[in-house]
Symmetry: C2
Subunit: 331 residues, 2 copies
DNA sequence: TTGAAAGCGCTACCAC
DNA sequence: GTGGTAGCGCTTTCAA
């Protein structure tokens, strides 16, 4: 049975115990360079002895800075996000900023409520793959520092992983392998990335004389991909480009279940190159620098928080990585 | 270029605009039942009009409650954790409590620093799969409300996923299939779960007259499993029980690369039944109720925070789920 | 049912 | 280099 928890000492108590003023103790933690080094050492020793830990809300109340940012993603269980989150966390932590993680469960209304509450609990928000309307995003960004990842809204700082380029490469790759009919397995319709990818595929396919059948939208989940495999096979296409690796992995499983060999009978391309997705055979996919995206987004956000009122935009290239799920079109 | 951000109104401003006192506005948000309903409505309207959002640090300063908890995991990129985190988040959110997510990167010292800082930023912590010493954990729990997941420390409230039982079933399953030599592919040595699983495997194997070779420790990462496949094949064992699904998936890939068919030539069992891991063939594994574990941990924690000083322990059963990576021992 | 006032723990200004 | 003091935005007695 846990004992009663001892009260944490306040700054005042430390001051009394160390025989200095509250201001001095405060400076030990905030601006130690203003103090004589020996004072710092002495006060620190007393504070540690007493188990003093600065009380964050009080500091936040005074400074107006909360010392925390939020990272908001649609679905933390989707393996695309952890690397972004991790990188953002690390970057923020280096600056002594804490990271609140929130998950909107792919629900638009939850996203709005969340952002409103986050406004008073954080100094700013990194909003990843937002499902909100352009209008709503622009509006939020006037109320609270906001940086987008994978969402392209004019007037709002953003980091975009340019998978469209990779998708064009993907179509070229398939065309070069003599594929003439390709399925694009669409992701969530409110996803900016899906719009980009789909448009890139359609555009390049037309140029290369490749026919495209679009199936979807789909939630980016394994089961959806698996179920979609049947529909894919019905189209008579010889290759699939999936919205992301999760869907692609599902298609792989669905094809395996249907006895369709990959890449001999069907070629398959994913997107994101999620490390955790190690398929057999290894998946041809488009690789985006997701860690870099997370880190950059935090850099942009901290600049915004520091009052730099400028719109920053970064587009990160995402090239095609050819592995073993693509091969020549069956004769 | 973003415009200058308007200052958020304070409670006082709302009070002035609504022609009531600050106390009244405060009560609208904290204890509306003390007010005349029409007052609540009227003040709310004014507040919404002005875009008022309660300032959290100020509230925290006054009440002594921060209204946030933390969930600490070793590695957010490990797919075992997201379901736990999600469930914890949801449960906390239902109670109007925010969730801070922290990641220790599998580093013990980072874990300590983190917990100290979290002490003043949160009302309590759910510590998942901690790598800390028993001593350190017990000590922390006297300083700050703390609930463990998958770590068994007497005196500290905890939720344990009992994969040991599933591991015993796994050994029985293999023994019934005539396997006589099995590899246990160990996880991190500081992991409580690994200790449990390893002991269960060794114990039951001895009873069933099955020889066990322990290989490891391994970080629970795909590449480690893939590399371990070679060592597994060298032992001459006919089956592998891996610490978790991530390692198992790596072994699957490693065996495929080596031309070893599963389950015909080698049987394979994982642990955790991570939804995202959909392998081909589907993995025989031990399924733990990870969502339930996360939710329960939050329940326990909130009770602790509310001052209920009792140690609560819950063991959740994790049974074996037989799929297609296990078969009769090769002749 | 509502208002006035004190104060949570800390920082920052102004003295010294 | 260090101390005194006011006040951040809110909640919560107490009084009306």
């Amino acid at each position: 049975m846990p004992r009663a928890r001892p009260e944490l000492p306040t700054l005042k108590k430390v001051a009394a115990a160390a025989g200095v003023s509250a201001s001095t103790v405060s400076r030990v933690y905030s601006h130690p360079q203003l103090l004589r080094p020996e004072t710092v050492t002495r006060v620190r020793a007393v504070a540690d002895e007493l188990g003093y830990v600065p009380h964050h809300p009080a500091r936040a109340l005074k400074t107006g800075r909360i010392g925390a940012i939020a990272v908001v993603v649609p679905d933390i269980a989707n393996p695309f996000f952890p690397p972004v989150i991790r990188a953002a966390e690390d970057r923020a932590h280096d600056r002594d900023i804490y990271t609140l993680l929130a998950d909107t469960d792919e629900m638009t209304e939850k996203e709005v409520t969340l952002l409103v509450q986050l406004q008073r609990r954080t100094d700013g928000v990194v909003l990843v793959s937002s499902r909100l309307s352009t209008e709503a995003i622009r509006n939020r960004s006037t109320l609270h520092p906001l940086v987008l990842v994978n969402r392209d809204v004019e007037g709002v700082s953003r980091v975009l992983v340019d998978t469209a380029a990779g998708m064009r490469e993907a179509v070229d790759h398939l065309a070069d392998l003599a594929h003439r009919h390709v399925v694009y397995l669409a992701g969530p319709s409110s996803s900016w990335s899906d719009g980009q990818r789909r448009a890139a595929v359609l555009d390049r396919a037309q140029r290369r004389g490749v026919r495209v059948t679009v199936l979807g939208p789909h939630r980016p989940e394994h089961d959806e991909g698996m179920r979609a495999a049947a529909a894919v096979l019905e189209t008579g296409a010889t290759a699939v480009i999936a919205f992301d690796d999760v869907l692609a992995q599902g298609v792989l499983a669905g094809c395996a279940a249907a006895g369709v060999r990959i890449p001999q009978e069907m070629s398959l391309i994913g997107c994101d190159d999620i490390l955790a997705v190690r398929t057999a055979p290894p998946l041809t996919t488009v690789r985006g620098p997701s860690r870099q995206a997370g880190a950059l987004a935090v850099d942009f956000l901290l600049r915004l928080i520091d009052g730099v009122r400028e719109e920053t935009v970064e587009r990160l290239p995402a090239p095609l990585v050819v592995r073993e799920t693509t091969g020549p079109a069956p004769a």
